[in-house]
Symmetry: C2
Subunit: 186 residues, 2 copies
């Protein structure tokens, strides 16, 4: 029945989405992933459809064919085994990989700011600032759309807000590092 192999982050996340929705189709999962402010997953068909089949054959979800008119539809639900797996993924205990410094492309780039001609560095910072503002708006849009569905969904927005704040504050750090680097050169 339920195979014992390790599940990917996306698999477990999707399992959670299906659980949260009560019952939903692959297409809905795709939408949820695509609408997410995080660009971690694209919600591409090539990922989602096979993934749900995998979850199904592992016994974590069960499908039944609902249909609207002549349009076929596969509705998935999480099984009890699936819920067990979901809980194991959420923790506690948290597996090690679940907590580490997250990957921030902005940080990665800032690491090599010294590679830019000095004049471009400040422009980089203000560009980053502007981009972060857009991210913040994206979080807000997401919030309007989904925050009602679950008491814990509001926390997602809070997280996004806090994260954006801290990245903004950090950009100020970057700016002052630029200033002191300039002073050193002078």
């Amino acid at each position: 029945m339920a195979s014992q192999r390790r599940h990917s982050e996306l698999e477990c996340f999707v399992l959670g989405l299906v659980w949260q929705a009560g019952s939903c189709s692959a297409y809905q999962v795709r939408r949820l992933l695509a609408d997410s402010p995080s660009s971690q997953w694209s919600g591409s068909a090539g990922a989602v459809y096979p993934l749900l089949r995998r979850l199904e054959s592992a016994g974590h979800v069960r499908a039944r064919a609902g249909s609207t008119g002549k349009r076929r539809r596969r509705e998935y639900r999480v099984t009890t085994a699936g819920l067990r797996t979901l809980r194991g993924w959420i923790g506690p205990p948290l597996r090690g990989e679940a907590v580490s410094v997250s990957y921030d492309p902005l940080r990665s780039r800032a690491r090599f700011l010294a590679a830019l001609p000095p004049g471009a560095r400040r422009a980089w910072v203000s560009g980053a600032r502007a981009a972060l503002d857009q991210v913040a708006r994206r979080v807000d849009r997401w919030h309007e759309r989904y925050s009602d569905s679950d008491p814990f969904m509001g926390l997602m927005t809070r997280h996004g807000k806090r994260e954006t704040e801290s990245r903004r504050a950090w950009l100020t750090d970057v700016e002052s590092a630029l200033t002191s680097a300039q002073r050193r050169r002078a």
Copy 2:
């Protein structure tokens, strides 16, 4: 010469690492990646060696065979074309994918906290808190090791610290959401 295809995030990041080091071997790149507090990349040989070959054949780095005794070594350096590519990656302008809400496995899990039996939820939060503290220590260790090498390296640590702070603060949000959910049930 320089092929025009799109480079992956890792490719550009490694290009940056080589640039920063002035000259370094694939093995050193692996170490740098493995020591990083972020677990985004493992620094596996299977990723790094072919990647540097790719960068080489794209004209972004040039190798020469240095050797210590009988031990062979390929030393890479960034070419002018490579520096151009690196700068393009860093920005400005920042490409869209470079800025979005970052992926936080903790957040993903918290989204489905309602799937846990109520008693386990607080345990989850304290587990997360403990795990974050370990992350903070890892950042500190990294700082001791690398912060001297470049004026901008200190910013990496700052980022890690700010991020950890904001995630910790968010865990407090989670906790109070748990409390109010409990009140609602009562």
